[in-house]
């Protein structure tokens, strides 16, 4: 392979050499899905990044937990694949990074989203916010990331930090801090809440969450995601005990109840939402 074109300027040659020294940043990818239509606005190419520290009891992708494994890919490799589906994206669609927890691989994510926006691909971040911190250098990179993120799907697992910890292994203070940042800095977001009977389906806390969401800016959509049991098989395959054994998906009435308490029908900006140019 030719390292650089001899007609290029010396500056570009230096850049090229520099890139070879460090090598392009690589991400650990669990898998990709060409057809995501419930992972942000429009039809989206979904990249499932590997690695997550939370251990949500209802997680349906336990195979994405381990950090530092998976297929190593560069941003351009992923984008070359994604862009083949551009014709399906319409006015709202594009790419979504999910996981795992995308923010675990912040450096790579920043590279990926920057390059995606450079190629005209809309970016959507699906996150639980767990890695969020105002410590440097992490925070500056996060701020950069938000500049190249069109919309974030933020999952609030529980509004009460103690309950949050029981459910996921972590408290929610830094997660709510991230949401505050997004609210204050013009970052569009969808708020999502997984409704799990006996775990998150509590009128008191749901009402509290509903009130909390009301205080936020830039909320395009609020979604109640009914817990499902599609992940159980993976637990059995991986030989992990399933923490929600015996818990059935919520009834339609309970889903409706949660939607009322979260005032989901008040948030409709997603319908006319468009990615940033």
């Amino acid at each position: 392979m030719k390292l650089y074109d001899s007609t290029e300027s010396p500056l570009n040659v230096l850049d090229a050499v520099g890139a070879i020294d460090d090598g392009p940043i690589k991400g650990y990818v669990h898998s990709v899905e060409s057809f995501g239509s419930v992972d942000g606005p429009g039809i989206r190419f979904v990249v499932f990044l590997q690695g997550c520290r939370m251990r949500c009891q209802y997680c349906h992708n336990p195979d994405t937990w381990n950090i530092g494994v998976g297929d190593e890919m560069t941003a351009d490799q992923i984008l070359d694949d994604a862009i083949r589906y551009k014709a399906f994206w319409g006015e709202q669609g594009g790419m979504t990074c999910s996981g795992g927890e995308s923010l675990v691989q912040l450096d790579f994510l920043l590279d990926l989203f920057t390059k995606a926006k450079g190629r005209g691909i809309s970016t959507c971040l699906d996150t639980s916010g767990q890695p969020f911190t105002r410590d440097e250098p992490w925070f500056s990179k996060f701020e950069q990331l938000m500049k190249v993120t069109d919309v974030s799907l933020v999952d609030i697992k529980h509004i009460n930090s103690a309950e949050h910890k029981k459910l996921t292994g972590f408290g929610n203070e830094n997660i709510l801090d991230m949401i505050q940042y997004m609210s204050a800095n013009n970052c569009d977001m969808w708020i999502r809440h997984v409704l799990v009977p006996q775990r998150t389906d509590d009128d008191h806390y749901l009402a509290e969450l509903g009130e909390y969401i009301k205080t936020l800016n830039n909320v395009q959509k609020v979604e109640v995601l009914p817990y499902h049991t599609l992940g159980v098989k993976k637990y059995h395959e991986l030989g992990i005990t399933y923490p929600l054994e015996g818990i059935e998906p919520p009834t339609a009435a309970r889903v409706k109840n949660a939607e009322n308490l979260l005032h989901t029908s008040d948030y409709n900006d997603w319908k006319t939402w468009r990615p940033r140019p």
Binding site: F35, R84, Y85, G90
Partner: protein
């Protein structure tokens, strides 16, 4: 050409915009001049009238009785069906706005022996009817049938290819179908003008030198002329004089339907397409509305009653036929929409009205509604269509831009299930399918059939190495393919010749131009399995496992990660592209009847189940007897990168060679499309747009949960109208065989991650 006699027609045509259509038979120009585009949404539509509901309940009740009666309610045993063989028949004369049925009673099936007397008798007997021995005598002793003609000339190789099922479904005992007649001609011009035009054509065929071609065409046009006269007589028996143009919308719909009725009274074709009638009917409705003669509810009623009639068409067929094409389909394919060469879309309010029938009268498989999709169709219509898809899974989508470019006209219709055909001057000779998955096995086994263990293809040295060598395989595959192309195309030459001779479609061809372009249709089955098998041999190091006779009966790939078709992976998709083009070129080296132009297809209807049943284990791991994936769909379980990756693979197959159609049947659960109705519609619209932009040709869309199908299999009585799209048509799920139901259930349904 002689000009049309306008003096009389002028009164009938008042209120329409004039144009070339007034000087010659030219429905396309009539549409161009009288198109009223509609860019709004569905809110203007009207619900069913009381008469519609009463009649529809009557039809549903007959359907129920028919199912309870084992599939056929009543059948003729001693009247040979012709255009005029039966007096008028009604559902409820007082309520029907559109009249006419195939025989004298609704749901009574006609006796059609011209394709083959044995087939007609077998069909009767398999439903417990006793064929009239007199009929047997007539069609054996005195009158030859199409079937007998073909078998009089078949070569031993053709019989063998047919017997061992490397070629299947040949129309050698039933009608070839696939003619889209220009039915609107009757409404716009009246029968007399059409007869005059045919008489004029007849006078100019040949210069008296009686070559074979001249004799054939003169005889055919005489038959057409007679058929037109018979259509007039048949209409008269219902009290309508259709000699002149229709004077209002009700007459226009009725005139068009009489044309269609003549077709289904005389031919039990593998497709009895309705063609493209929406814009013509719309022009008549528009004119009536301007004149204050009709309101929306009345307009809808006409469309509802027409569609109800299309839902009532029946043919009696043998069990073997039903195994191939399950669910009693007649493929009354109705094409809606499209875009003209001038850039105007052809969405009218009547296109909406046709979709509304599914709401007013419930879901039903016929007519086989086909949307000629283009990016330029208005958003309101796109969203309404996808809403209907989500509710009823009854629509197929085809790429208008691709077809109108390839076929050189914007006035084409869908013949059969998927194939395009110029309506004014194009005809297709239907030609079933060659089984390429089996051809792969013949290459490995030296031409020995893996099921019968008999020499069928050309005898070559079987591949006897531990790992199949790719180069050796490809050489041997070519030998078998060349043989298959030869036998297949030449069997079809015999079939088309005899069909013209003994079962000529005079009623339908009377409603087309006299000078026609012919397409010689062929088809490929077992496509994805053939492609993945080649890829396995190329990339996966395949070990054959042989039985005691040395026939490869199983395969093991050393590297099971070889590329598979359906993942947008060029390594596999290039094999797919190559295979279609290569087989086409091999077939194209042969003589083709009537100087037809060769076309091929990658679509299988429901026959993928039967083809699979007769094919041994293939190198891609598909087990002996397992169904093939339908049409151009990837093999079950091969898709690893989601729905769009799968669609992109299919979209790469070159339509230029497979102009007969490349079918993809797409199943998806509602929740995968989105969490709410609006998102679901948008997702489907974007998905179809994206597929077509990438040159995808055809898409069946099924939206439901697998659990629904499993429940419907257990309790069919609770799902009497649950419809499913299979390759190229639509069926009541309850009317499928158990095996085909299992196949539909086991197909890939794209589900949420």
């Amino acid at each position: 050409m002689k000009q049309l006699d306008k003096t009389d027609a002028k009164n009938y045509w008042e209120g329409f915009n004039g144009g070339a259509w007034q000087d010659e038979i030219n429905v396309r120009d009539f549409i161009q001049q009288n198109l009223t585009q509609y860019d709004g949404d569905e809110t203007f539509l009207a619900g069913p009238t009381e008469a519609t509901t009463i009649l529809n309940n009557q039809v549903l009740n007959l359907k129920k009785q028919e199912r309870e009666n084992g599939g056929v309610l009543d059948a003729d045993t001693n009247v040979v069906a012709t255009i005029t063989s039966h007096g008028p028949g009604y559902l409820n004369k007082d309520l029907e706005k559109i009249v006419g049925i195939q025989t004298d009673k609704p749901f009574k099936r006609a006796f059609m022996p011209f394709g083959g007397i044995r087939m007609a008798e077998d069909a009767l007997e398999s439903y417990g009817f006793k064929p009239d021995p007199e009929m047997h005598k007539i069609f054996t002793a005195y009158h030859k049938t199409h079937n007998q003609g073909v078998f009089d000339v078949y070569t031993p190789d053709m019989r063998a290819a047919r017997h061992y099922k490397i070629v299947t479904g040949l129309p050698d005992a039933y009608a070839r179908g696939r003619i889209v007649a220009d039915f609107p001609r009757i409404a716009i011009y009246g029968i007399d003008a059409l007869m005059a035009s045919k008489a004029n054509d007849f006078a100019h065929i040949g210069d008296g030198e009686m070559t074979d071609d001249v004799i054939r065409l003169r005889e055919q046009v005489s038959d057409q002329y007679r058929a037109l006269n018979d259509i007039k007589k048949m209409a008269a028996s219902y009290g309508y004089d259709i000699s002149k143009p229709a004077t209002n919308a009700q007459e226009a719909v009725q005139w068009i339907y009489f044309g269609y009725l003549a077709a289904v009274k005389t031919q039990n074709g593998a497709a009895m397409s309705v063609g493209r009638i929406d814009t013509t009917i719309d022009a008549f409705i528009q004119r009536d509305m301007k004149r204050g003669l009709i309101n929306e509810s009345q307009a809808q009623e006409l469309i509802d009653h027409l569609v109800m009639k299309l839902r009532m068409v029946r043919f009696i067929r043998t069990e073997e036929y039903n195994d191939l094409f399950s669910g009693d389909p007649i493929w009354a394919t109705l094409s809606l929409g499209g875009v003209g060469y001038d850039g105007r879309h052809h969405i009218t309010k009547t296109a909406f009205r046709f979709l509304k029938t599914l709401d007013n009268m419930g879901a039903a498989p016929e007519p086989n509604i086909t949307l000629l999709w283009d990016d330029l169709l208005p958003k309101g219509f796109k969203r309404y269509a996808t809403e209907v898809s989500i509710k009823s899974s009854t629509i197929q989508y085809e790429n208008d831009s691709l077809m109108r470019t390839e076929w050189g006209t914007d006035y084409y219709g869908i013949a059969c299930c998927v194939s395009a055909q110029p309506i004014q001057d194009g005809v297709q000779f239907f030609g079933a399918r060659a089984n390429l998955a089996k051809a792969i096995l013949y290459a490995i086994n030296g031409g020995v059939d893996e099921i019968a263990e008999k020499q069928v293809g050309p005898e070559t040295e079987p591949i006897d190495s531990d790992v199949i060598d790719y180069n050796e395989f490809m050489k041997k595959f070519d030998v078998q393919l060349a043989w298959l192309a030869d036998v297949y195309v030449n069997a079809l030459n015999a079939i088309q010749y005899m069909h013209d001779k003994y079962y000529y479609e005079s009623a339908q061809l009377a409603l087309k131009n006299t000078r026609l372009d012919y397409t010689f249709a062929t088809g490929i089955s077992g496509f994805s399995h053939a492609v993945d098998s080649i890829s396995a041999i190329k990339y996966g190091k395949v070990h054959p496992i042989r039985d005691e006779k040395g026939v490869a009966v199983d395969f093991k790939a050393e590297d099971n990660d070889y590329p598979r078709y359906g993942n947008n992976d060029d390594r596999a998709d290039d094999i797919a592209k190559w295979l279609v083009k290569h087989f086409y070129e091999m077939m194209n080296t042969h003589h083709l009847y009537h100087n037809a132009k060769l076309s091929t297809s990658v679509l299988t209807i429901t026959s993928n189940v039967v083809y699979g049943k007769n094919t041994g284990t293939t190198p891609n791991g598909r087990q002996k007897g397992d169904p093939f994936s339908p049409g151009a769909n990837p093999a079950y379980g091969a898709e690893k990168n989601g729905a769009l990756a799968s669609l992109m693979s299919t979209a790469k197959i070159p339509y230029h060679y497979a102009t007969d159609g490349i079918s993809n049947t797409f199943g998806v659960t509602p929740n995968t499309l989105g969490h709410d109705d609006e998102t679901r519609k948008d997702t489907l619209v974007n998905m179809i747009d994206g597929y077509m932009e990438n040159n995808g040709m055809h898409l069946n869309i099924n939206v439901f949960n697998k659990e629904t199908l499993i429940d419907a299999q257990k309790h069919p009585e609770e799902y009497p109208t649950l419809t499913v799209r299979v390759s190229g048509y639509c069926v009541y799920f309850a009317d499928l065989t158990k095996e085909q139901q299992d196949d539909v259930i086991s197909r890939t349904f794209f589900e949420e991650m």
